[in-house]
């Protein structure tokens, strides 16, 4: 009798297992689908729209998603958005190039020559530990609200991540490979080009990605404080007119640009590090 009950239970369990194997539950299928990562953001967006439409959320606090889309469309139609986008993009790029090149050069020098490290590293570390945004009052005094001030800040913000990672990258190149290169008769330049630089590249690219993050951060702050164009400027003028929808558009633009920069650096990694199984 008892054994019969056991059999039944086991049979039931077995058939249940067979069913789940054959046809995954709805929940399982949703979790497996490609849409899964977007479900939560979409739900939040819907909730936001409902809250705004029902009047639970004042437009002074946050505009409805539809209002944001409308504002974005207006800015695109008038072409205003592109003027600001371009202004911000150019600032970001030039600032990053200046900071990146200086960081790279210092990293190579200090990583490659002990003398340079002894002379320069302490100074660099001291400057690095000053939050560069705290220099804004000084920067305004020095450069006014001109382009130069913003470029200076962006360059300063991107310099250190690139420097630190380049330095670390050069130092962590396998000394066995350097010895091998030397014994195979490579000149200093060949050794740098074929052994040291590629060996340091993974680390340098990590620095570049950090720097891109700092680049946007610095630019946002610099543009909201003193500018006559750019996304930050657009957001600040919108604030004065209580246009929360335009402010949100500006924030979304930063998110988009940040994502683009990150994607670009990923592509760069995939190209430069294609020898590395981790990036294939």
């Amino acid at each position: 009798m008892l054994s019969g009950v056991h059999d039944r239970i086991e049979a039931e369990v077995a058939s249940e297992a067979a069913v789940t194997q054959a046809r995954p539950s709805l929940w399982q299928r949703v979790a497996d689908s490609r849409l899964a990562p977007w479900l939560v953001p979409l739900a939040l967006l819907a909730l936001w729209q409902v809250a705004a439409s029902a009047g639970w959320l004042s437009t002074r606090v946050a505009p409805s998603p539809i209002a944001v889309v409308r504002a974005a469309w207006e800015l695109i139609r008038s072409g205003e958005i592109f003027v600001h986008l371009w202004a911000s993009f150019v600032r970001a790029l030039i600032g990053f190039l200046i900071g990146g090149v200086i960081g790279l050069a210092l990293g190579f020098l200090n990583g490659g020559f002990k003398v340079c490290e002894r002379l320069l590293d302490t100074t660099i570390q001291m400057v690095r530990n000053v939050p560069h945004l705290s220099l804004i009052p000084l920067v305004i005094l020095w450069f006014g609200i001109d382009e130069a001030g913003k470029l200076f800040l962006v360059a300063l913000g991107t310099l250190f991540p690139v420097y630190l990672n380049t330095f670390h990258g050069i130092r962590s190149v396998d000394p066995a490979l350097i010895e091998m290169g030397r014994s195979y008769g490579l000149s200093n330049w060949q050794l740098f080009k074929r052994v040291i630089l590629p060996g340091a590249m993974p680390s340098i690219l990590v620095g570049v990605r950090f720097a891109l993050g700092f680049m946007w951060l610095t630019l946002i702050v610099a543009e909201t404080i003193s500018a006559s164009s750019g996304i930050g400027y657009m957001a600040m003028t919108a604030r004065e007119f209580m246009q929360t929808d335009v402010v949100v558009v500006a924030i979304l633009l930063y998110a988009l640009l940040g994502k683009l920069a990150d994607t670009a650096s990923r592509l760069l990694e995939r190209r430069l590090l294609r020898w590395n199984p981790a990036f294939q």
Binding site: A176, L177, M180, S183, P198, N276
Partner: protein
């Protein structure tokens, strides 16, 4: 210009060479001479200074006393006719197999490429020329490293336990490959190894370095190709090993005292 030089190996002379690292004396008053195109194996316990001897020959480290002559020139910085093969392949992971082999070669790009492929062909890996080193097995990487060394047509090939990390079968294949290429190119070879059987299978002469000196010097006059496990090989191996082991016990006594 190349063909004239490659035909013969370097003649090697070491005269009362000493080397210390810090306070530790590694080699003391070592004398050795090796004729052109000979195959010398250096055996010894780990830390006995056998690898140091090789590094001195390669010009990677400087000896403190004595002289080292390669032909009639004192050993100096990296020489184009001396190449070293390490225990790890030391391939550049960011360069293709062919570019690794071409490392340090001079000349036109197409010539370099051709030399590299020819060299890879000798170790049977020409078809892997455009792959990354990361996809190769350990044995294949060592073969690429061998091709890289041979691409320079070295007259002295220094082998620093190059087969130590390989499995037994791959090891034997590599030993045969090295022997074959040595016979073809007639370079002088110095093999550092802790494997006495390997030394006897490959070398014309085996020296044992122990307590900073050459403790034992044995000519191997077996015909090639040598059959592994042959009685004559086993006999010689036994002689070298017993020498190594008795030395080892006195060393332990000294350390204990």
């Amino acid at each position: 210009m190349k063909t004239g030089q490659q035909t013969s190996g370097i003649e090697l002379r070491i005269e009362s060479v000493s080397k210390r690292y810090g306070t530790r004396q590694v080699l003391q008053d070592v004398n050795l001479s090796v004729g052109q195109g000979r195959f010398l194996a250096v055996v010894g316990r780990s830390g006995s200074g056998k690898s140091t001897l090789l590094r001195l020959l390669a010009g990677l480290d400087r000896h403190d006393q004595g002289r080292i002559w390669l032909d009639d020139r004192a050993v100096g910085d990296a020489r184009s006719d001396t190449r070293i093969m390490y225990q790890d392949a030391r391939l550049l992971p960011w360069q293709t197999v062919a570019d690794n082999v071409a490392l340090g070669l001079k000349g036109r790009r197409s010539d370099i490429r051709r030399t590299a492929i020819e060299s890879l062909d000798q170790v049977g890996l020409a078809d892997r020329a455009d792959e990354w080193p990361s996809v190769l097995s350990g044995g294949q990487r060592q073969r690429v490293a061998l091709a890289r060394a041979l691409a320079h047509r070295p007259r002295l090939l220094l082998l620093d336990e190059p087969l130590g990390a390989l499995d037994a079968l791959t090891r034997i294949e590599m030993q045969q490959l090295i022997e074959t290429l040595w016979k073809v190119h007639r370079f002088t070879a110095v093999l550092v190894t802790h494997d006495v059987a390997e030394a006897i299978a490959l070398a014309d002469r085996v020296i044992l370095i122990d307590q900073k000196r050459i403790a034992f010097d044995l000519d191997i006059e077996l015909t090639r190709p040598r059959l592994r496990g042959h009685a004559a090989c086993a006999d010689l191996e036994g002689r070298v090993l017993s020498r190594l082991l008795t030395r080892g016990s006195t060393q332990t006594d000294v350390q204990a005292a």
